[in-house]
């Protein structure tokens, strides 16, 4: 488990991370969302022991991470621009990493490289941007660490590769003690893989919640209510976060138990009624409005 308390980092006059307190449970995929400059990279670099916090505490499995090789052996950091030695191949990098990470799985590197169609002995410098990211991810996953910190790792991957990468992470989480933390400025990229999402803004954390938990309490429904009076009463009766009516189709984002909501709608004799999946962005709209933020502005 990773736990941060009042974590701060300042670069000159810029407060990059401002009192972040988060708990990241084991065996979950944690999404770290936020706009550019929100402090995601700085936060991850502190978690990886690269940067020393100005204030606050980080504990990884109860131990501090900075200058602690024993803890860092359980962490692999994939920065947004991964570094490879000049003229190095995946094989060379694998050999280098294997010297530092005790559970480094060299077979896995080879097999994953073959599966995604990368050349094991080809110079990485000749790879495309997406291929370099794939190579970095493979090298990171194969490190056998408990934690993998990915900073904008899916940026630059084609949709097929992105899906493959997500599957790979999900597979690792399912099969061993593995907790990736994925930072991204794109909520859509995180929504179908993360169990838990933290939203950073201006160095601070706006919220950090379990996606399933959030989804249980908020729903998007579409219905057609023939009687306008019934419709008005239904809107008053439900905890509507947002509603929109196009012709006779009423679309609502509603808080509460799904069964209960649908029962209330059925009582109004709808011509049509169904619950549809919420995007992560829509969930965030409802969750951040309490704090007075307009999520759309954050992510546009």
């Amino acid at each position: 488990m990773i736990k941060t308390e009042g974590l701060c980092k300042r670069f000159g006059s810029l407060q990059a991370v401002d009192h972040i307190s988060l708990t990241i449970e084991d065996n979950s995929i944690f999404g770290l969302a936020g706009t550019n400059g929100a402090g995601k990279s700085t936060f991850l670099r502190m978690l990886a022991g690269v940067l020393k916090p100005d204030e606050g505490k980080i504990s990884v499995d109860g131990e501090p991470v900075f200058e602690n090789p024993a803890v860092k052996e359980e962490i692999f950091f994939l920065p947004d621009t991964a570094y490879f030695f000049p003229n190095a191949s995946i094989a060379d990098m694998e050999e280098y990493y294997a010297a530092y990470y005790p559970r480094y799985d060299r077979k896995k590197v080879k097999s994953l490289t073959e599966k995604v169609g990368l050349e094991y002995k080809r110079k990485i410098s000749t790879f495309s941007k997406g291929m370099k990211r794939q190579a970095a991810l493979i090298l990171g996953i194969s490190a056998g660490t408990k934690y993998l910190f990915c900073d904008e790792t899916f940026d630059g991957l084609d949709p097929v590769m992105r899906q493959a990468a997500k599957s790979l992470l999900a597979y690792e989480v399912a099969n061993r003690s593995f907790s990736p933390i994925i930072a991204s400025h794109n909520l859509r990229e995180l929504e179908d893989i993360c169990d838990h999402v933290g939203l950073l803004h201006k160095g601070g954390v706006l919220l950090s919640k379990d996606i399933e938990e959030m989804k249980e309490n908020i729903h998007k429904v579409q219905c057609v209510i023939p009687d306008e009076k019934d419709e008005e009463e239904l809107l008053k009766e439900l905890q509507v976060v947002k509603s929109e009516k196009r012709l006779s189709l009423l679309t609502m984002v509603v808080r509460g138990d799904r069964e209960e909501i649908m029962r209330k709608i059925q009582r109004r004799n709808p011509l049509f009624a169904e619950a549809i999946p919420l995007t992560l962005e829509e969930i965030f709209i409802s969750e951040t409005e309490v704090a007075g933020y307009d999520i759309k502005k954050l992510f546009t």
Binding site: R45, V50, E67, A70, K72, F76, E95, Y96, P102
Partner: protein, 699 residues
């Protein structure tokens, strides 16, 4: 994976990745070590076939001691540091290395040893090649091998020191430009600081003697120390000092590297200085001496030097501060904003210049309590300047001044009295500094000045040296005479105390009539002659020395020993060193021996041999420089002039009765003989003659 394994793997990996650099180092060493040794030895093979082995060994040693090797070693230090620690200037690379599961100390050692290996492997390979070439040419003996080992150790130690300093420069900075500046600063900050200090002393203090600290300056820069250590002639003591300094420096620098790396923020890439809090400190420490030094040079060309020095220092401080602030922030508006650090520099600057201007520490009027002084030394160029000393006795001193000031006298009351007179003169002449300057520049023809160097050797162990330039008064002359007439002082300044008569190979005599005539004599006679001369010179009082005519001099030549190092090898081939000893009219025993040996040194010139005597001088009476000359042809005039002739070509001694303003030149009746020059003792018998000259009679 054990720590040893990852260390070896990291070093191996770094070497593979920087193989191009190792090749570059190898080629550089190949040129300056084996290739140049091969060329030199092959050429030397045909030069001196009579002493083949010594010649080849010396050539081989000279190749090993080439300063080019040292320059390459130092260059390797800088490049190796840049190569293995350059990642600190890049975010991606810093993230990569600092996220690895190892402590900073471990990472540092892995990188540091990688850089060291990059140097060591090509260096050792070329060393072995050089040795092989030396062996093939028969140039390697035990001495050469010892020197090779010493040079290798020096190279390794000083490489570590310079390489460590380059790493420190990288650790303290965040980009290549400031890193390079930082490295140059670490290499030359000491000499710059020292130069600023000595130049300020020279500008503001008229009595300070700074050349005594010659050796100190070498150790202010690791680079200069290394080049000096590799090229100077070693004594065991100096060798130990160079080794000790190198080892201590290397250890201190490496320790500083580790400590700085432990606390260096990872986010320092692209910043001018890695530690923000150090910016003002570095700014003050860097700009202050630089502004002062530049202002010193700039104002040196001005008439009102102090005014322009202050203006120059203030303007340069503002300019350098702006440049520094711009480099740190890359923002011109920030650079133009007033800063506390700039104010601090200006305040310190004013304090320093004000302190120097008012001589707040009393440097020029320094006179310690007599009870605090253990011994004193005195160097009078007008007395000792006419002598030359055996080379072996002064080799450790850069000048005769320092050599003389190392000759301490414990019975120093008369020297102290001389110091008191000198300090009193300085105290009573507020414009002493400008006096000295104007006298030096223009030369006061009316006033004879005496230059006095005094060394105070305090009971506390401190040595203080001062130089005074004061008028020659009868009181001063008597005081100097009392110093000279004490045997303890005279023994230390007369060259005869240092001459080893057995080393003298040839003696030549110079007299009024014959110049450079070789003296043919047996070893026994030579020893007797020199002992006789020594006795007469040592028994001569100060008063005699200033009143007596000099009738010639002896030129003693000794075969200088080849420069021998601590290891016992010769640096160069044999050569001859000569020095001159004055012979006075009263040295009758010496002159008698010379006459017996066929080289008479007459105390006068026969007037009947002289055709004419030309007298010349410069006159300033009209306010302008005027050249006067007159030729004397009458027998009476010639006789009068020759009776007062002394065989000297420069002004020496204090309170001399020799008229150095009038130059005399003899034209012989025998036109084949060369004209000779001499000076005259002033005497009432010459009044008419000099009157005629002063009247400008140029007939």
């Amino acid at each position: 994976m054990t720590s040893r394994n990852y260390l070896l793997k990291t070093i191996g990996g770094n070497i593979r990745r920087n193989f191009w650099l190792m090749i570059l180092f190898f080629l550089a060493f190949l040129v300056v070590m084996p290739a140049s040794t091969l060329t030199a030895l092959d050429g030397a093979k045909y030069i001196d076939t009579t002493n083949f082995t010594v010649n080849m060994t010396n050539t081989f040693i000279q190749c090993i001691r080439s300063s080019l090797v040292q320059v390459i070693v130092a260059g390797c230090g800088a490049l190796a540091a840049l190569s293995v620690f350059f990642y600190l200037y890049s975010q991606e690379k810093t993230d990569f290395y600092h996220s690895l599961p190892m402590r900073r100390e471990g990472l540092f050692m892995a990188q540091f040893l990688s850089g060291f290996s990059l140097f060591l492997i090509p260096y050792v390979l070329n060393l072995l090649l050089t040795l092989a070439i030396g062996l093939v040419y028969g140039a390697v003996n035990q001495t050469a091998l010892s020197i090779l080992v010493i040079h290798t150790l020096l190279a390794v130690i000083y490489f570590l020191a310079i390489y460590g300093a380059a790493v420190l420069a990288i650790l303290l900075t965040g980009n290549l430009f400031t890193g390079t500046l930082g490295f140059m600063t670490l290499m030359f900050y000491g000499p710059i600081l020292y130069m600023t200090f000595t130049r300020l002393n020279a500008r503001f203090f008229e009595t300070i003697v700074q050349e005594m600290d010659y050796d100190f300056g070498i150790f202010l820069s690791p680079l200069i120390a290394y080049i000096s250590g590799g090229t100077v002639d070693w004594t065991w003591k100096s060798l130990c000092i160079y080794f000790l300094y190198g080892v201590v420096l290397a250890l201190v620098v490496i320790l500083a590297d580790i400590l700085v790396y432990r606390i260096r923020p990872s986010e320092s890439f692209h910043k001018a200085i890695a530690f923000k809090k150090l910016e003002p400190v570095i700014k003050v420490c860097g700009i202050l001496p630089l502004s002062l030094l530049c202002a010193l040079y700039f104002s040196g060309y001005m008439y009102n030097q102090f005014f322009w020095m202050v203006i120059g220092a203030v303007v340069l401080t503002l300019i350098f501060s702006m440049i520094f602030d711009f480099l740190c922030n890359m923002d011109i508006r920030m650079a133009l904003k007033p800063k506390v650090s700039t104010g601090v520099i200006l305040a310190v600057l004013i304090l320093i210049l004000g302190g120097y201007r008012t001589d707040i520490t009393g440097v020029d009027t320094f006179l310690p309590d007599e009870e605090k002084v253990a011994s004193m030394s005195l160097y009078l160029p007008s007395v000792s300047g006419q002598f030359q000393y055996p080379e072996s006795s002064v080799t450790e001193s850069p000048t005769y001044t320092t050599f003389s000031l190392k000759q301490w006298v414990e019975d120093f009351q008369e020297i102290y009295a001389l110091a008191e007179k000198s300090v009193e003169y300085v105290r009573n002449h507020e414009a002493y500094a400008s006096d000295v300057q104007s006298l030096r520049e223009n030369g006061d023809p009316e006033q004879t000045m005496v230059m006095i160097y005094i060394g105070y050797h305090m009971k506390s162990g401190q040595d203080v040296y001062r130089m005074y330039y004061i008028p020659e008064t009868e009181e001063l002359v008597e005081n100097i005479g009392r110093v000279y007439d004490t045997w303890e002082y005279r023994e230390k300044i007369l060259p005869t105390s240092y001459i080893d008569t057995e080393k003298i190979e040839n003696i030549y005599t110079y007299s009024f009539t014959e110049s450079g005539k070789a003296l043919t004599l047996s070893d026994e006679n030579q020893e007797r002659l020199l002992k006789t001369y020594q006795e007469e010179l040592e028994n001569m009082t100060f008063d005699q020395s200033r009143r007596e005519k000099q009738v010639g001099w002896l030129e003693l030549q000794e075969k200088a020993e080849p420069e021998i190092s601590a290891m016992g090898y010769s640096v160069n081939s044999t050569y001859t060193y000569s020095y001159n000893l004055p012979v006075y009219a009263s040295f009758e025993k010496t002159r008698a021996m010379l006459e017996k040996l066929g080289n008479p040194m007459a105390d006068s010139i026969e007037p009947d041999q002289v055709e004419s005597i030309l007298l010349s001088r410069y006159s300033y009476e009209s306010g302008e420089e005027q050249y006067l000359e007159k030729e004397y042809r009458t027998e009476e005039d010639i006789e009068k002039l020759l009776a007062q002739a002394t065989f000297r070509d420069e002004r020496f001694t204090v309170g001399s009765h020799v008229n150095y303003q009038v130059s005399c030149e003899i034209t012989w009746k025998d036109s084949k003989k060369d004209k000779i020059a001499f000076y005259i003792f002033e005497d009432s018998s010459l009044t008419d003659i000099l009157e005629q000259l002063n009247q400008g009679n140029t007939d």
